[in-house]
């Protein structure tokens, strides 16, 4: 069983992502409504993959990503960033910071499923 952490401030978007992930019986999703919640959850559980939105209040996705990639416990976790199609710069920065892949909103469940199955080899 793999565990995914979904960090997204919009409740409905979060649900959309989680229901897209639910097609994989081997994935269990844990959700965080903002960066602070993600920081709290990280030490509590071993995550196999993290999906994070970029535009969030308090701590944005790039800041979270930067923290993850510099933390010895978390730097190996693959991180997929979710951005708007508009902000190419944010996307490039995310990849430069060590994100494994990205998704642009709006996306369809199959786009997400494709990326996830590739990364987790499902």
């Amino acid at each position: 069983m793999k565990t995914a952490l979904v960090v997204e401030d919009s409740a409905m978007m979060r649900e959309f992502i989680i229901s897209s992930l639910s097609t994989f019986s081997a994935i269990r999703s844990v959700e965080a409504a903002n960066g602070f919640e993600a920081l709290r959850l990280l030490p509590q559980k071993v995550f196999d993959i993290i999906l994070t939105d970029i535009n969030m209040p308090d701590i944005n996705g790039l800041e979270l990503l930067s923290y993850l990639k510099n933390h010895p416990n978390y730097q190996a976790i693959p991180v997929v960033i979710i951005s708007t199609e508009k902000s190419e710069q944010d996307r490039k920065r995310g990849l430069a910071l060590g994100a494994i892949d990205y998704l642009t909103k709006p996306f369809q469940p199959k786009d997400l499923q494709l990326i996830i199955s590739k990364i987790l080899k499902l």
């Binding site: 409905m12 959850l41 510099n70 933390h71 010895p72 508009k86 996306f107």
Partner: protein, 670 residues
């Protein structure tokens, strides 16, 4: 029906977002007027449109996603400083709100052709393309920020950093070492404080093993005019260190060595999301309330059985035990009920936003300057009632602006400030919530009301009504009409409709007015409609339930003391003469009051009282009012039916219309 359910979720989320947006756009407008626009507010508005676009796009609601996409673009340009923040932008945003409300209504009705967004889209595109500010080169040679930190900045944060550099603000690196358990609250508190004196540009969580276990380190990039010393003084914390970004050499986390393992026990604590709320369809809560209502009846049956058992067998052990069980059950049910009802309550402030938007629009249309003051936003009321309340409140406010508030000229002559004020306040009074709408306009002009009423045949030519009567006329059907726009009738905003809506919510409305000084409408509502306390009374063989909220007292009288005035029965209670109501007559039923010493249930609605004559008061209990179906709907005097644990349902008396009948005799005409 997965799509149906995601559509429902979308609509409820979208409505939430729109409500919040309306408030934020209002704040934006105010801040433009005061010349203190906060960049994070624009970013927040951007994020909300961004969410709307994302979700609607994924669910295939093309019209909404296409529209919000353009607005997102505009706001992106706005937050990145590519276009200037102006009243024009705010106007477009407000127009967009109206359109989006319309599009959501379309979605609900499965329509797509009612709303045409193209005129607004044209304005959005004009703003995007015509008002572009010169692009700014973004480099920070003069700043001492490491590559890692620079990469963690989003485009927006980078722009904010540039802005701060441009306006020659001091830039600091504020390092905080916070406790694991409380870092989020503390960080928000500190950020709020810092934002009052500058701008927190970036919040970077940072891994430093030296900080020790149980600690989290954050580095904030902060632009301000304060000195480092002053910042420390404001923050008043020992765990804060500050460095000027030009001097500070930030440590990169890669220099850190091994760190201590997190304690094992933390591993299996919780997988739950930390946001501890769930969203529930109100219909589900209604179902729960219904079941509770039925349990209340079951409890009453248990209590009846225990009473019968004790009566039949003396105080047998079984009977006593059962009655204890019934008492216990009652306590637990009350608790359950209270808890469920609490979940339905939402703050009145939710509709304030909506009303604010309308007032803004109206004051512009009528060219009157109106300030809006709110109080009691936190007062809680049943969600359903909040929804039902917004129309009547809009009516009242519209009237206040149309007819109450004078134009600037007139106000100046009357020695009033040029800007009118509408105050909306809400507070709890006992088991009721009171909402007041107060305007400082010209007040209700009694003479004009009289003229109008005569013209409309609501008043015989020879009668001179007092002020109280005039105000009642305002609420009568036919006083205002939509076919004739006069100074008083306005655009067909009928206060009779307002009154009907409010009494539909088991509430009542009253008015106080003073010529030249202003008018106050006061709406009193029960906190919830779901479960109400009722007095059960008997007339002959029939039982009725009367909502406690409308009862002011009960008295036992001698039937010989009932007098007849003007062919109407009355009773002299202390110094007042109270009209009486015979339930049997009102409903044309054969069962009549037989008692020599009947009871009067005095019901009070606003200023008026009447006494219902009954044989016996059989008890007080909580009831759930059920509607009686289409055919029996809207019968004056009946609010619905309920079960009280006996073989047949009983009727619930609608006190308001009963009192109307007793004081005006209007109801029976129908």
């Amino acid at each position: 029906m997965e799509r149906e359910s995601s559509k429902r979720d979308f609509i409820s989320e979208a409505e939430e977002i729109l409500e919040e947006l309306t408030g934020d756009i209002q704040s934006l407008e105010t801040s433009i007027q005061h010349n203190n626009v906060r960049p994070d507010l624009i970013n927040k508005i951007f994020r909300q449109f961004h969410s709307m676009k994302g979700i609607s796009g994924m669910l295939g609601f093309q019209k909404i996603s296409g529209f919000t996409h353009e607005l997102e673009n505009m706001l992106d340009n706005l937050r990145l400083g590519k276009i200037a923040v102006s009243q024009k932008v705010v106007d477009v945003l407000f127009q967009s709100m109206d359109l989006m409300h319309g599009m959501i209504a379309e979605l609900i009705d499965e329509q797509t052709d009612r709303i045409d967004p193209s005129p607004v889209l044209k304005k959005v595109n004009e703003l995007i393309h015509e008002d572009q500010l010169p692009a700014q080169q973004v480099t920070f040679p003069e700043l001492d920020l490491d590559e890692q930190t620079l990469r963690s900045l989003t485009e927006y944060e980078e722009h904010r950093l540039q802005e701060n550099v441009n306006r020659r603000a001091q830039l600091y690196n504020v390092r905080l070492v916070l406790d694991d358990a409380t870092f989020d609250h503390e960080l928000r508190e500190i950020s709020d404080l810092l934002n009052q004196h500058g701008e927190v540009i970036s919040t970077l969580p940072s891994f430093e093993s030296a900080a020790g276990p149980g600690k989290m380190v954050f580095r904030l990039i902060y632009g301000t005019n304060l000195t480092a010393e002053n910042i420390l003084r404001k923050v008043e914390r020992s765990d804060v260190t500050i460095g000027n970004i030009r001097k500070e050499i930030s440590k990169t986390a890669s220099q850190e060595t091994e760190e201590e393992q997190e304690p094992e026990r933390a591993l299996d604590t919780s997988l739950k999301s930390l946001s501890r709320t769930v969203r529930v369809d109100i219909q589900k809560l209604d179902e729960v309330i219904n079941v509770i209502g039925e349990l209340v009846i079951t409890r009453a049956m248990v209590a009846n059985v225990s009473r019968e058992l004790m009566a039949a067998e003396g105080h047998s052990r079984l009977g006593v035990t059962l009655s204890r069980v019934a008492v216990d059950l009652e306590k637990k049910l009350n608790e359950l009920q209270r808890n469920v009802i609490e979940t339905r309550l939402v703050p009145v402030g939710q509709i304030y936003h909506k009303l604010g938007r309308m007032i803004r629009k109206l004051s512009r249309e009528t060219n009157k300057q109106v300030d809006l003051r709110f109080s009691g936003e936190d007062t809680e009321l049943d969600k359903i009632m909040i929804e039902e309340l917004s129309d009547p409140l809009m009516h009242i406010i519209r009237n206040a602006i149309d007819h109450g508030i004078e134009n600037a000229d007139e106000r100046r002559k009357a020695g009033k400030p040029e800007r009118g004020t509408i105050r909306l306040s809400a507070f709890q009074r006992g088991n009721n919530v009171v909402i007041q709408v107060h305007d400082d306009g010209r007040g209700i002009q009694i003479k004009k009301v009289q003229e109008q009423a005569r013209k409309r045949g609501l008043l015989p030519p020879d009668r001179v009504p007092d002020e109280k009567e005039c105000i009642e006329i305002l609420f009568s059907p036919g006083f205002s009409s939509s076919d004739e726009v006069t100074e008083l009738s306005g655009r067909g905003v009928g206060l009779d409709v307002v009154k009907k809506n409010i009494s539909g919510l088991k509430g009542f409305i009253s008015v106080q007015t003073q010529e030249g000084r202003g008018t106050m409408f006061e709406i009193t509502l029960p906190i919830t409609l779901a479960i109400i306390q009722a007095l059960i009374v008997r007339v002959g063989q029939n039982k009725y339930a009367i909502p406690m909220s409308s009862i002011s007292e009960t008295v036992q009288i001698d039937r010989n003391d009932i007098r007849t005035v003007d062919r109407k029965e009355v009773y002299g209670l202390r110094d007042r003469t109270i009209p009486l109501i015979r339930i049997s007559e009102a409903f044309h039923l054969p069962e009549k009051v037989r008692s020599e010493t009947p009871y009067l249930v005095i019901v009070k609605v606003g200023e008026h009282s009447a006494g219902l004559v009954v044989d016996e008061l059989t008890g007080q209990q909580e009831i759930v009012i059920k509607s009686m179906g289409e055919k029996l709907k809207n019968i004056p005097g009946i609010a619905g039916a309920t079960e009280i644990g006996e073989s047949k349902p009983v009727l619930v008396i609608d006190a308001e219309s009963m009192v109307e009948e007793a004081t005006h005799g209007r109801i029976r005409a129908g």
